[in-house]
């Protein structure tokens, strides 16, 4: 059916002064035969918007608003979701950064309108993915402090919970904990763990189904449709759940590896958790002879902050040791207590506990441990290099030495998952896949591997400062000490937040909406399977492991795992993956519609594909600051640079476009791509462009990728002008005019 398209050109904010609006109207009318083309001096005003609304009421189904950036005036320009709207950025990216009235500026504006019109013509309103038999339950894996908190908080919000704990009793590490560090004024009094109250709330809540002595044998499917097999005492139970909180916790770092601290050699060298058990049971005795402990030393960073053991800081041990020192001091203020530390990390109000123990006469020694010896009388002496005095210190004869041996996430154990290796005749994956350790916790039936990707030190933590719950598997939220080393109170907050994310995921997906970062997006990728060649690029490259494979290597998409970045669309050599409002063909046609003057006009054309979250706003910002740059550029925002399909480059070059600049986020260790691998994948695909260019007898310099962040707007003129200068040197694309 032919679309009825309305074009609305705003002439305010300098647009009318800078541009030839008649010429723009001619583009709309002559090249696209639009149903209406109207101009208004203040389109975002009530009056301007009412003109558009009137047309919509009278059957206009597609509107193109040629005005300011799509990032602004969104309150004014929001229309019913069943209509297609495209916004053409004539203000920030044309009128505000290019000289008024010039021919190049006019041509830029005309192309911008053409490009927007092609998109509008080709776009369809999204038709959300709504599956049947959706579950609104939350699975919590792990029944320790974080897991029980997540279960309780989820239930309190009115959702059903399935809680799986591998041990027979709930409680996890907390079962053996005597007291917790202070959390309320005066911040010097230890807290009761209140484990029984938490446990009975969890077990007594009819909306929480608790499986103890159980493991998750497998999780198949996708968010809102996860089918979980739970193995308990040799039998199996099935549960369908919507989302997962992974709260499987951490374990103390193996003390056997700490022989330099005398563990195993001397029975009176114990770990922090062993001491905790002694206090919990009320039997605080020297393991060697059962005598009371009359003196004690705590050795901090026993394994942590040590490249040979745990390179990270375990976060909780300083305060945990202070707490345990308090156990001794409150029983007998005369007990000599030594704490050997490197930096005393008593952050926030834990400072008060630290000060209190200084008052209590604890000996704090900043230095490295040099040795632990039996002093011959049955006691231990600790030798250390005291950094503050520059001398060696030797303790008195001690009854007990406690190692603060840090924490290790349970996800960091297990062999790396071996992805299906390429069969004969198949090419290797173009990039290194995520490291996934077979740690037997979630057992996901995902093509990319059975667990969450293990990031630094095996923690499945978010890489994003602004979005600490972003795991690489949609609908699965790690919380507590499995996510990052943390203390008890932080674990409680973390679990509560993860519970919210699980609930939110269920609410969003069951309405057909994407979750973060394209929250609310109703589009999703559809696969035209008849043309699939089973190349597996989409299944390998999806940053979120959304696509499974059947035994013939056909992709099996899972829309509720999908984040809508379009990386699969960019990866597919057959161009079979499309969104209703974003596709390879659509952007290809946008490129083909760019007006490319012949070589004698000496007006090269440069295609810019810009990440819509960072590079595109940076381009806007250049306009807002009235920075100017080369007018040969034609900018197309992309969902992620990873959605760039190489055919676009071929389309552009065969069309006669002289250069292509890709503006994406930083990649590498500190990557900033919110789809994790998008810009990295685009960079890898770039290397393939080299071959294409050689085949076409073109210079590889015609295609360039630049990493820009949102605040790099001041660099953009230099980047764009520099690239334009290089293109000018290379001369016109020889394919011009063909």
């Amino acid at each position: 059916m032919e679309k009825r398209i309305g074009v609305y050109i705003c002439t305010g904010c300098g647009i009318g002064d800078a541009l030839d609006v008649n010429a723009l109207e001619a583009v709309a009318a002559d090249e696209f035969s639009v149903a209406a083309c109207r101009r208004h001096p203040f389109l975002c005003s009530d009056e301007g918007v009412s003109i558009i609304r009137r047309d919509l009421d009278q059957g206009m189904d597609t509107i193109v608003i040629a005005a300011c950036s799509p990032r602004v005036m969104t309150d004014s320009f929001t229309f019913p979701a069943d209509r297609v709207m495209e916004r053409v950025n004539l203000r920030e990216q044309v009128a505000w950064c290019h000289p008024a009235g010039e021919e190049d500026t006019r041509m830029l504006a005309e192309d911008a309108l053409r490009m927007g019109l092609v998109k509008a013509v080709e776009m369809l309103p999204p038709d959300p993915f709504l599956a049947d038999d959706l579950s609104r339950k939350v699975l919590v894996v792990g029944g320790g402090l974080a897991g029980m908190t997540a279960a309780r908080e989820t239930a309190r919000a009115g959702y059903e919970v399935v809680l799986v704990e591998k041990e027979e009793q709930l409680g996890g590490y907390l079962k053996d904990v005597h007291k917790l560090p202070p959390v309320r004024p005066p911040y010097t009094e230890l807290e009761d763990p209140n484990l029984d109250a938490l446990t009975s709330e969890v077990t007594g809540d009819p909306s929480i189904r608790v499986y103890t002595g159980s493991r998750v044998a497998s999780i198949a499917g996708a968010p809102c449709m996860f089918d979980v097999t739970i193995r308990q005492n040799g039998s199996e139970a099935m549960e369908r759940v919507g989302a997962v909180v992974l709260a499987a916790g951490s374990v103390p770092y193996s003390p056997e590896k700490l022989d330099s601290f005398g563990f195993a050699k001397y029975p009176d060298v114990v770990t922090a958790s062993q001491l905790e058990i002694m206090f919990k049971s009320g039997k605080v005795e020297r393991p060697s002879n059962g005598q009371p402990v009359g003196s004690v030393a705590f050795l901090l960073c026993a394994g942590s902050r040590d490249a040979r053991h745990l390179p990270y800081c375990s976060s909780a041990c300083c305060v945990e040791s202070l707490k345990q020192a308090m156990y001794f001091k409150s029983e007998n203020p005369q007990t000599p207590v030594y704490i050997f530390y490197r930096d005393m990390r008593a952050h926030g109000t834990y400072e008060f506990l630290y000060k209190e123990l200084q008052k209590e006469g604890v000996f704090f020694i900043r230095g490295d441990i040099e040795g632990i010896e039996d002093d011959g009388s049955g006691g231990l002496v600790v030798a250390a290099n005291d950094v503050l005095t520059g001398s060696s210190v030797l303790t008195e004869s001690l009854d007990l030495v406690v190692l603060a041996n840090g924490m290790v996430p349970v996800t960091s154990f297990g062999e790396p998952f071996k992805a299906q290796s390429p069969k004969e005749g198949e090419e290797e994956a173009a990039y290194a896949p995520d490291t996934i350790l077979v740690s037997d916790i979630l057992n996901l039936q995902y093509r990319q591997g059975p667990e969450l990707p293990a990031l630094s030190h095996g923690f499945p933590d978010s890489h994003f400062i602004c979005f600490p719950y972003e795991s690489r598997r949609t609908g699965i939220y790690p919380a507590g000490s499995v996510r990052a080393p943390m203390d008890y109170s932080q674990a409680v907050e973390d679990a509560t937040g993860a519970a919210l994310k699980a609930i939110q995921c269920i609410e969003m997906l069951s309405a057909g909406k994407a979750v973060h970062p394209r929250s609310g997006d109703l589009s999703y990728p559809e696969f035209f399977m008849q043309r699939c060649t089973q190349c597996k690029r989409c299944t390998e490259e999806c940053p979120f492991g959304a696509i499974n494979e059947d035994e013939k290597a056909n992709p099996l998409p899972n829309p509720t795992r999908c984040r809508r970045c379009g990386v699969c669309m960019g990866a597919c050599p057959e161009r079979i993956i499309s969104f209703r409002n974003y596709s390879v063909g659509m952007i290809g046609n946008v490129i083909k519609k760019i007006n490319v003057p012949d070589e004698y006009e000496e007006k090269p054309r440069i295609l810019v594909l810009a990440c819509e979250n960072d590079a595109y706003p940076a381009l806007d910002m250049a306009g807002i600051r009235r920075l100017s740059y080369n007018p040969w550029v034609r900018i197309i925002p992309v969902r992620c640079l990873g959605s760039m399909n190489l055919v676009w480059i071929a389309d552009a070059l065969s069309k006669g476009i002289d250069g292509i600049l890709l503006l994406g986020c930083k990649h590498g260790d500190d990557y900033q791509c919110h789809f994790i691998k998008g810009s990295e994948l685009a960079n890898i695909r770039m290397s393939k462009i080299q071959e294409t260019l050689n085949r076409l007898v073109l210079e590889s310099d015609r295609v360039r990728l630049e990493q820009v962040s949102i605040t790099d707007y001041h660099r953009l003129p230099e980047i764009l002008d520099g690239f334009a200068a290089r293109i000018e040197e290379l001369g016109p694309n020889p394919y011009k005019g063909y």
């Binding site: 008593a346 952050h347 400062i465 600490p468 907050e493 929250s519 900033q672």
Partner: protein, 422 residues
């Protein structure tokens, strides 16, 4: 559930910084109507004034851009800038809130074109840059400001300049008839996320902040290093704009100190480590010295801390400076400190001194409706804030950005729960 249906299930979020934004967006995406009340004319709070985040050294505007897009596309979120909560009455599931709106003198017709600022002539100190620069009396609060809407300073109301500003706007957006106004909101729960303020460095008299021109605070350093800042991102001496070759970072400036803030502010160590990279990226020949008590780089921040400390241009000295004196003729600043490793008294000269001042919760000055909600340092105690009122972020304890977001996400769930009457 019958009772729950009768309660108001919308959520008020007081404060539109990183915690407040996150709480509001997370709750809205779980299906709840939320309202953000922000005192400043823009959303984003303190993080909008940061140059980069540790440990990734990425720009805060990137995450804010995503969050602003989430707000723009979600009809369940409404926000009010230049607004303050005047009173809260009622109970969980049924709060009556009165909000006061201060006049912006620019209405919703503003397109962000900037003609008003061109017409304005008066320059006023720019609090966004902590007074390091001035701005016009008609201004966009900062270049990434959301909403992108100008503000006219009350100082010019009634002046001839006001007339010029008004007539410069072709869209009728400048409106000097605006008066302070109040309106009511009915909500089921309240999230208190009013954030923090830097400790007033002027109170640490022996560091001479305010007297010594080349002694600045860590938040000022963020602005000096930002492209959008007063120097366009060039770290220069405030006294004469000259190059900075050596910087001293003074940790715990006011923190962990019984005479000032007795607690540890949690983030200043990492902030200073980060700021050394601003300096060294700008000038590879520069030097940075950090005077510290303990380096508190918890968890995975250890790697970042090590990376910075391995740089030979960065020196760490354990010791708390006693006095800082600026030579008025050269502008060089002498830091006097006892190096605890050697016991020696050092007197080193620097081009610039950055005081790592700590965080004071905003609730120390502007308390919650419940007066007993805070500890003696102004931090809100969750179980004393009152039923249905949930603190989030730095009003609870001094934390970094990731922890604020995490806590705000948790607060969103607690607020959702509070809207049920049980």
């Amino acid at each position: 559930m019958a009772d729950a249906l009768k309660t108001n299930r919308s959520i008020l979020v007081v404060g539109g910084g990183m915690s407040g934004l996150s709480a509001a967006i997370e709750a809205a995406e779980a299906g709840f109507q939320t309202y953000i009340v922000e005192r400043e004319p823009y959303l984003g709070g303190r993080v909008a004034r940061m140059n980069k985040y540790f440990p990734k050294l990425c720009p805060p505007n990137c995450g804010l851009e995503i969050n602003f897009r989430r707000i723009r596309s979600n009809p369940l979120i409404r926000f009010f800038t230049m607004a303050q909560v005047e009173s809260i009455d009622g109970e969980p599931g049924n709060f009556d809130v009165t909000v006061r709106l201060h006049p912006r003198y620019v209405n919703e017709k503003c397109t962000g074109c900037g003609l008003c600022a061109e017409a304005a002539t008066t320059e006023i100190p720019d609090p966004f840059n902590y007074g390091l620069s001035s701005r016009k009396s008609a201004y966009l609060p900062h270049e990434f400001a959301f909403p992108m809407r100008y503000v006219v300073a009350p100082e010019v109301v009634g002046s001839p300049e006001a007339k010029a500003i008004e007539s410069a706007c072709p869209y009728g957006a400048v409106d000097f008839d605006m008066q302070p106004q109040t309106f009511d909101l009915k909500v089921g729960a309240v999230i208190w996320a009013t954030g923090w303020k830097p400790y007033d460095a002027g109170r640490i008299s022996y560091y001479g902040f305010g007297r010594n021109r080349n002694v600045i605070t860590n938040v000022m350093m963020e602005r000096l290093a930002a492209n959008s800042g007063p120097t366009g991102g060039r770290i220069a001496r405030p006294s004469d704009g000259s190059d900075v070759k050596s910087v001293a970072f003074v940790q715990c400036a006011g923190s962990r100190d019984e005479n000032h803030l007795p607690y540890c502010s949690g983030v200043c160590c990492l902030a200073s480590l980060k700021q050394t990279t601003y300096l060294l990226d700008q000038d590879p020949d520069a030097r940075a010295t950090i005077f510290y008590i303990d380096i508190r780089a918890l968890g995975k921040y250890e790697a970042f801390s090590n990376r910075v400390q391995e740089d030979e241009r960065v020196t760490l000295i354990k010791g708390k400076p006693g006095e800082i004196i600026e030579d008025p003729s050269t502008g060089l600043v002498t830091v006097q400190v006892e190096d605890q490793a050697t016991g020696k008294i050092l007197r080193e000269k620097f081009d610039l001194v950055v005081l790592a001042t700590g965080m004071v919760p905003s609730t120390a000055e502007d308390p919650l409706p419940s007066r007993t909600a805070c500890d003696e340092n102004g931090f809100v105690l969750p179980d004393r804030a009152g039923p249905g009122i949930i603190p989030a972020g730095c009003v609870k304890k001094p934390v970094d950005v990731a922890s604020s977001v995490q806590d705000a996400t948790a607060a969103a769930l607690k607020a959702i729960q509070a809207t049920f009457r049980r």
